[in-house]
Structure formats: structure tokens, C-alpha cells
């Protein structure tokens, strides 16, 4: 018998007949110990579905018809007290780990509180023991001291695991996981998925795994449902769904998922001797952070360490790495929002730190940045036209007619309607807002564009459209792109050269093909193995998946900074810090294995031609 069952559920936004229907006639069932995936684009009703399943519909959401059965009983038909008792058996984990807990109370105390709310007969001491036990089970290091830490002291991945503990602490029969991996880095997301799979065995929990990413659902679930605009359009065993999608929407979803190793399109080859437009020479950035305890004293945070690389005209250069690897600091250095504490950054031969006045303004016009957050990056009360004129005014444009003509031209190029000129950015979708962002960068006719996670807030279809736009603009204006990203699939599709960063260092610097088919660093390989795809993995996660999280940049270990997580760590890694070493002419990796000419995987040469 099904443990949790939704029968023909319809949910609408309000009671009136004209109200927007969010979920339409949705049915699904979940057997004990099963993981069922639900996949759909943003605004397809995924979150409403997950909330419906746990009886958490806030007004104006209204369940019109249908029932939700838990062990055969309708949870919407029960009294509130009865439902509260049932909360012990049905749990929910959401997508925003950092906002889910009260920042003023220790994490452990909050989980204990929740446990005792649904299980009043458990003593405080027992509850505490159980929580610590579970924190250890989800691999939070030194769980008994972490129990007393505050949410701000947890990283995103650790917080998500703490929330899984929060959901599991009452030994639920059903866990609804709503997009849990979305805010996490690939390696951490892979850990969380592995954890969820283990938990179904260990605690007999069934999981409803809801996600916007099909590859992610494929990693986790055995059976998958596809939801499109509030309707379940297809249900199949996961592997069959990926191999033989029957509904057109599913086919589209599968075909839009980027291929990493089996992709057919290759990037156009670029000549090697193009002019160097941006060059980093040993650039480092060190922040001084006040120590939390005691008087005075500062910690030195070495956010970026001795980074050296060249970007040539026409390149699409990618900087990839997990959160906290120094990508954002590097972005601030490149865009001269900060000056490096040592080393140099040269733009067309000139050190950007020494630029002043007119020269600085010229540099600003040449290098522009497209920001990450489509909502925070546009001033809320400025009309779009005014917003786009602003950089031009800064650069000395005064003629109103010319300003307007230039802005309208750029708006047309990025696909914004001219009617938006006098509108606020308010009603725009995330994709439209990102176009405004791109337009704001383009009005100055720059030659270098830095994309700081520009696409990460958009869903797949919108990403594709913008990437096409970027490629068109690149050809038209001979632009140089620097993509700062954690999305390797996107990098594979558009970038010709990639730098992999870890703890402020560049670990590997290589061309696209080389990096994905013959990585020179164990960390690169770990990233590739953790990446969710619809293809067979080229690198087995069992061989190279990382445990734990990067060490704190406050105390970077001596020798190789990766040694604590590296499956291939050797004696020499303890004492000697590896430097970028040439392999195959133009590619570099900072690993002792490269110097010793030990291949990362024995059969790599045969596999590469596949």
C-alpha cells in the first residue's frame, strides 16, 4: 500500500472561479523506502505541490478538490491536533537553508525544540542525545560542539544537513525535500544526495524529492514525475524517462539538459597568437579580519593567492570553483573594485592599479561587469531608460537625443522592447532583468565583459536564450568574456579556456576539451564526477568524490591546500606546495602528480576518444 498518496489534487490561488489554478488534478503515490522525484521548471507548481503534501497551504492558496492520504487517511480531513501529532511522521526540508532557522538561537536547541513540540514525552536530555547522534550521522564534524553553534557559524552545505536532521529527528515515514540541492555547490550537493539515499535505508524513510534539475533528480530517485504548469505530464522509472521520454515537454527537458562528454557541437577554434587583453601576474588579495575573541589582533584571510593567467582577445574564459574559493574576490580585483594586496593586473599592458582620472574612466568603458542577482542589481525606483543612460552620462554624454538613441539601440540588441524605456524594472522576469543588466554593461561598448554567475538565477530555457545572445554579441563586437561560474555544464558549452580555483589558488588552467576529457588535477576530477548529468559518468564518483568541506581560508594548511580532501594525497603533498606545471604545451595543473608524470586515471587515454 502507498504510504503517501495524492489523489486528483487541485490547488488554486483564491476561492473565486477565475482564480489562477496552480496545481491541476495531480495524483502521485509514494511507497515506503522509495525515493520519488518530481522535476519541473520554475513556476511549474513544485513548491506548492510539496506544501500540499505536508498540509501546509497558506492563504491565498486553497485546495479545491482531491485528497492527500497518509497511510490511507486524509490529512486534510483531520482535526488540527491530530495533524500536529502526524507532523512527527511527515517532514519537510526547504530550499533556503540560511533563512530556515532563527539566527539568535543555537542550531541544536532549535532542533530539540522542534522534536519536543511533536513528541512531548521525550525528555530534553534524550532529545539532545538524539540530535547529536543524527548530526554525526549526516557527517557534521564534531557534532557535540556544533550542537551549540549558531546558524551563522554553519556553512550553506552544513546548514542544509542540519535541516535534514531537523526533518529526520522525529523518525518520519515521509520526507518531502523541496529543491534541497539548489543552493549548494556540486560536490556538497552530491554529498547531500548520497546522504538522502543512505537515510532511506537507515531510517526507513520515503522521500519525495522535488527539484528543478533533471540530472539531480536522476541522481536521487528511482521513479520520476514531470510537472509542467501544474499538471503531471509524465511518470516513469527514472532511467526509462531519461532514455525514452514520451511527453513532448519531457523530451524538451531532456534535450535541453547540456551534454558534457557526448556533446556534438564543438567550439570554433581560435588562433593561439591573439593579443593578450587581460593579464594577472601573481595577483593576491589578503583581508584583515578582526578576531572574534579577545582584544585587538587580526586574522589574515588570504582570499586570492598568487593567481597568474592571461586572457586573450576573443576568449571565453571561465573561472570555476566552489563557493569560498575566491572567485568573487578575483572578480572584484579584475573589475578594480579592489586593488590587489600584491601582484599586478594588466589590462592591455597597463597596470590597472595605477590608473587615475581619464585613464580610469577609459578602463571602465573597456571592461564591464554583469552581476549575478537579477533583483538586487537594478535600482528599484529608476526607470530602465534612465538606468541605462546613467553609465553614458558618467562618461560625459550630455545630448539627450543621442543618449536615448544609444540606449534604445542597445535595448533592441539584447531583446528588450522599446516600450520598457520609461518603465520600472518591477514587473520584469528574472531573464528580462538579466537582459537589462547586460544592456547596462553594453552601452559603454566594452571589449571585455565579466559575467559574475550571470545565469545561475535563471532556469534552463532562459539560460540557453541568453547564451545564444552572448555568442551573437561576441561575434558582432569581438568581445572577450570572463565567466565566473560554478556551473560546469554551461562552461563546457561556451568557454574555450577554464581556470579551476580552490581556496584562492588556481589549481588547473586548461582548454575546454583537455579539462573535461583529461583533467590534470584530482580536484577537477572530483568536480566533474560530482556534476549531475544525464550521461554515463566519465569519472566514477566512488573514486574521486570529496568528503567534508574546504578548510577555512583563515588557516590554510601548509603544502598542498587540497591534501585534506584529496583521494590521491602523498607524502610530498604535506610539505611542498605544488605550482602550476605545464602539461601538453598550453595547459597547466598544480599537482605533484603532474610533475611526477603519473596519470590521474590509468585508462584516460583510451577513454578520451569516446
Amino acid at each position: 500500500m502507498a504510504l503517501l498518496e495524492l489523489r486528483n489534487v487541485t490547488v488554486a490561488l483564491g476561492r473565486s472561479d477565475t482564480a489562477k489554478v496552480i496545481l491541476e488534478d495531480v495524483s502521485l503515490s509514494l511507497a515506503p523506502k522509495e525515493i520519488v522525484g518530481v522535476v519541473g521548471a520554475s513556476a511549474s507548481g513544485k513548491t506548492v505541490l510539496s506544501r500540499t503534501a505536508v498540509n501546509w497551504l497558506d492563504p491565498p492558496l486553497v485546495r479545491r478538490s482531491g485528497s492527500v492520504l497518509f497511510e490511507g487517511r486524509d490529512i486534510y480531513g483531520m482535526k488540527e491536533t491530530e495533524m500536529r501529532g502526524l507532523r512527527q511522521r511527515i517532514s519537510y526540508v526547504g530550499a533556503n537553508p540560511m533563512g530556515a532557522m532563527d539566527p539568535t538561537l543555537p542550531v541544536g536547541a532549535q532542533i530539540v525544540e522542534k522534536m519536543r513540540a511533536v513528541m512531548p514525552d521525550v525528555s530534553r536530555r534524550q532529545a539532545q542525545e538524539r540530535v547529536i547522534e543524527l548530526l554525526a550521522a549526516v557527517r557534521i564534524p564534531s557534532a557535540s560542539s556544533r550542537f551549540h553553534d549558531y546558524p551563522s557559524q554553519f556553512s550553506g552545505g552544513m546548514m542544509q544537513r542540519a535541516l535534514i536532521v531537523d526533518a529526520l529527528v522525529t523518525n518520519p515515514a515521509v520526507l518531502v525535500a523541496d529543491n534541497v540541492t539548489q543552493p549548494l555547490d556540486v560536490t556538497v550537493a552530491a554529498q547531500v544526495i548520497r546522504l538522502i539515499k543512505e537515510l532511506t535505508d537507515q531510517f526507513n524513510t520515503a522521500v519525495l524529492f522535488i527539484s528543478s534539475s533533471l540530472p539531480m533528480v536522476r541522481e536521487a530517485s528511482t521513479r520520476t514525475l514531470v510537472i509542467d504548469r501544474g499538471r503531471i505530464v509524465e511518470e516513469q522509472a527514472t532511467e526509462a524517462l531519461v532514455a525514452r521520454p514520451s511527453h513532448p515537454y519531457t523530451r524538451e527537458l531532456v534535450s535541453q539538459t547540456p551534454k558534457i562528454w557526448r556533446g556534438t557541437e564543438t567550439l570554433p577554434a581560435l588562433p593561439e597568437d591573439r593579443e593578450v587583453v587581460l593579464s594577472l601576474r601573481d595577483a593576491s588579495q589578503t583581508y584583515r579580519v578582526k578576531k572574534r575573541s579577545g582584544l585587538g589582533g587580526v586574522n589574515l584571510v588570504r582570499a586570492v593567492r598568487n593567481v597568474t593567467f592571461d586572457v586573450r582577445r576573443g576568449d571565453s574564459f571561465a573561472i570555476v570553483g566552489e563557493s569560498g574559493c575566491g572567485k568573487s574576490t578575483l572578480m572584484r580585483l579584475l573589475s578594480r573594485l579592489e586593488l590587489p594586496s600584491s601582484g599586478q593586473i594588466l589590462c592591455e599592458g597597463k597596470d590597472i592599479a595605477t590608473l587615475r582620472g581619464r585613464d580610469l574612466l577609459d578602463f571602465r568603458a573597456r571592461l564591464q561587469l554583469v552581476l549575478q542577482d537579477p533583483f538586487g542589481s537594478l535600482p528599484p525606483r529608476t526607470s530602465i531608460g534612465r538606468m541605462l543612460e546613467e553609465p553614458l552620462r558618467t562618461h560625459g554624454w550630455r545630448d539627450r537625443e543621442k543618449l536615448r538613441a544609444r540606449v534604445l539601440k542597445v535595448m533592441g540588441e539584447v531583446g528588450l522592447a522599446a516600450e520598457l524605456y520609461n518603465e520600472l524594472p518591477l514587473g520584469l522576469s528574472a531573464g528580462q532583468r538579466q537582459r537589462v543588466n547586460v544592456a547596462r554593461a553594453l552601452v559603454l561598448e566594452p571589449s571585455i565583459l565579466i559575467m559574475d554567475e550571470t545565469l545561475s538565477a535563471l532556469d534552463q530555457a532562459e539560460q540557453f536564450k541568453l547564451l545564444d545572445l552572448f555568442q551573437k554579441l561576441q561575434q558582432e563586437y569581438n568581445l572577450t568574456y570572463i565567466f565566473i561560474s560554478h556551473d560546469l555544464a554551461m562552461v563546457r558549452k561556451v568557454c574555450n579556456r577554464v581556470a579551476v580555483m580552490y581556496l584562492g589558488e588556481v589549481f588547473e588552467l586548461a582548454g575546454n576539451e583537455r579539462l573535461f576529457f583529461d583533467p590534470g588535477h584530482p580536484y577537477t576530477m572530483a568536480l566533474l564526477s560530482a556534476m549531475p548529468t544525464l550521461e554515463d559518468k566519465r569519472y566514477k564518483p566512488e573514486d574521486c568524490l570529496l568528503e567534508g568541506e574546504p578548510p577555512s581560508p583563515l588557516s590554510i594548511p601548509t603544502g598542498c591546500s587540497f591534501k585534506s580532501r584529496c583521494p590521491r594525497a602523498m607524502e610530498v603533498c604535506n610539505g611542498v606546495q605544488p605550482v602550476l606545471t605545464v602539461r601538453h604545451e598550453h595547459d597547466f595543473a598544480a599537482c605533484h602528480l603532474v610533475k611526477a608524470e603519473i596519470p590521474l586515471i590509468e585508462d584516460s587515454v583510451e577513454g578520451a576518444s569516446a
Binding site: S377, G412, Y421, L426
Partner: protein, 305 residues
């Protein structure tokens, strides 16, 4: 670099859509609250500007025979010559109130402008630049806050003569720390936003970011609270007048009219009441217009139109 136009803008649609400020204003004007407020305000403004001169009555001319006349239809002795009655020296209350309104309004608005200017400038600088500059400015506001207003007024106005500019300065200087703190906190949060970074990348200087980006975003709400302060400053001026540190008699202001009327409150209530009536009317009209503008701004900016 030459640019090939892909979509040429359609100029007819461009002209059809009105600019934001225009839309906000049109929407506000259409609301009944704004119209009522504007009507009261215009009547009062015309009356203060024209009536004292047109009627030819001198606000300081005494007429002992006609002293303590009540306003219209009150008691037995009222007269059409003095619609709001007369005070203890037989001066016409209507003219005195209107002239008093001139001075009080002038002092109220001017001192709020001083206050806003000093407070917002210092607050914005402190919030935007932070660090040592912030520490110095904030200690300065603490120092300012620790001096009671009345003591400051006595010290300054007692030494120099209590002229109108001096009063405006004292009132303005005693209240700016509130605005400094308010601006500092909002500027601090706004300057972390991504669009500030975007402007920096665009080459904007700090001054440009503050003036073109932050102030237009933050000032409207500050201005709205400051309208209430106009009333507060008018009342403070009355307090000073009451202590004898305000505008000196015989020039009528609300402060000294009320101070005079206090002695006759039992047998001639109108002397102390009439200035209050005008004060109330003025502030109601300003607030009605302000509220309508604020509402219009919110609906337009929330996508209501």
C-alpha cells in the same frame, strides 16, 4: 566600434508612455485627498499673502476701545470688522494670525531645511564611507543629542539677539542628529546593494552614486517624515516665544500670541486658540497632499499603473 541597429525604436510608442515623475504627479492630483489639501493650502497662502495688505489693518495697531472683542456670532459684542475678534490691546486677531502664520511657517520650513541639509549630508557621508569618518560623525551627533534644546537656545539666543535667522539656526541645529542617524542606517544597507556596485563599475564617482542613485531612492520617505517636523518646529518656535527667546514683540508669531493669550484664557479663549486653528489647517493641508503623493508613488512604483 560601429553598431548595426537591429531594432529601430518606434518613436510613437515612446511618446505615449509618460515619464515616472509625471505619472506619480498625475495620479496624486486625481485623488480627492490631494485636491482638498491643495484647496485649503491655496486659500491659506492667498490669505496670508494678500489679506493683511488688502484689508489695510495694521497687525500692531492698538485700539483699546475695541479690546477683547469675541469672534463672529460669539457673545454680544462681536463685529464684522474683526471676524476673529481682538486681543487684550484691541489688535485684530485675523490679521495677527495670518502675519503670525507667515513667520511661523517661514521659521518651521526653514529650520526643517537646515535640519535636513545638515542631518542628511552628515548621515549620508557617515553611512556611505563608514570606518573612521563614520565614528567621528556619530560621536558628533551623540554630543549634539546630549545638549538639551532649551539650554542651547538660551545659550545662543541669549548671547546674540533673537533674530529670525538665529532662531532658524538654533532650531535646525538642535534636531539634525535624528536625520543623520536615519540616513546613515538606510545608506549603509543600500550601499551594499549590487546596483551600487554596477554604478562603480560604470565609472561613477562616490559623489555621483550618492546624488544620482542613493538620494532619489531614500529622500522621498525622509521628506515625508520631515513634513511632520515642520509642525514640530512651529511649535518649538512657540515654546521659544513663550520663554521670550522667540521673535520679539510687537511682531506677531504664534509663539508670542499664545504666550499673551495664556493670561486671558478664561475670559478670552480665542486669543490663544486662533493661532492653533491656523496651525492645524496648514498642517492638515500639507499632510493631505503629502499622503496623496506618497500613495501615488507607492502604487506607481509597485506596478499599479
Amino acid at each position: 566600434m560601429s553598431i548595426i541597429s537591429i531594432a529601430s525604436p518606434d518613436s510613437s510608442t515612446m511618446l505615449a508612455s509618460r515619464s515616472l515623475a509625471r505619472r506619480v504627479f498625475d495620479k496624486a492630483v486625481a485623488s480627492p485627498g490631494f485636491r482638498a489639501g491643495a484647496a485649503i493650502f491655496i486659500v491659506l497662502a492667498l490669505a496670508t499673502a494678500l489679506y493683511p495688505e488688502l484689508s489695510g489693518i495694521d497687525p500692531v495697531k492698538m485700539d483699546i476701545k475695541a479690546r477683547l472683542l469675541p469672534p463672529l456670532f460669539e457673545g454680544a459684542k462681536w463685529s464684522w470688522a474683526h471676524p476673529l475678534g481682538t486681543d487684550q490691546l484691541g489688535r485684530d486677531m485675523l490679521v495677527r494670525s495670518l502675519v503670525g502664520l507667515r513667520y511661523s511657517f517661514l521659521i518651521g520650513v526653514a529650520s526643517v531645511i537646515v535640519m535636513l541639509f545638515v542631518g542628511c549630508t552628515l548621515g549620508t557621508i557617515a553611512g556611505y564611507f563608514g570606518g573612521r569618518i563614520d565614528a567621528v560623525i556619530m560621536r558628533l551627533t551623540d554630543a549634539q543629542l546630549s545638549i538639551p534644546m532649551i539650554i542651547l537656545a538660551i545659550a545662543v539666543l541669549g548671547v546674540s539677539r533673537p533674530t529670525i535667522p538665529a532662531i532658524v539656526l538654533v532650531l535646525g541645529m538642535s534636531n539634525w542628529p535624528v536625520y543623520a542617524r536615519m540616513m546613515r542606517s538606510v545608506v549603509m544597507t543600500e550601499r551594499q546593494r549590487e546596483f551600487v556596485r554596477a554604478a562603480q563599475i560604470g565609472g561613477s564617482t562616490d559623489l555621483r552614486i550618492i546624488v544620482t542613485l542613493l538620494l532619489p531612492l531614500l529622500l522621498p520617505s525622509v521628506l515625508f517624515t520631515s513634513v511632520l517636523d515642520v509642525a514640530r518646529m512651529m511649535i518649538f518656535e512657540s515654546t521659544l516665544g513663550f520663554l521670550g527667546l522667540g521673535v520679539q514683540p510687537p511682531t506677531p508669531t504664534f509663539g508670542n500670541i499664545i504666550a499673551d493669550g495664556r493670561k486671558y484664557l478664561l475670559n478670552a479663549w480665542w486669543i490663544a486658540t486662533m493661532p492653533g486653528l491656523f496651525l492645524g489647517l496648514t498642517l492638515t493641508s500639507i499632510n493631505l497632499m503629502g499622503a496623496a503623493l506618497e500613495r501615488a508613488r507607492d502604487t506607481v512604483h509597485a506596478g499599479g499603473e
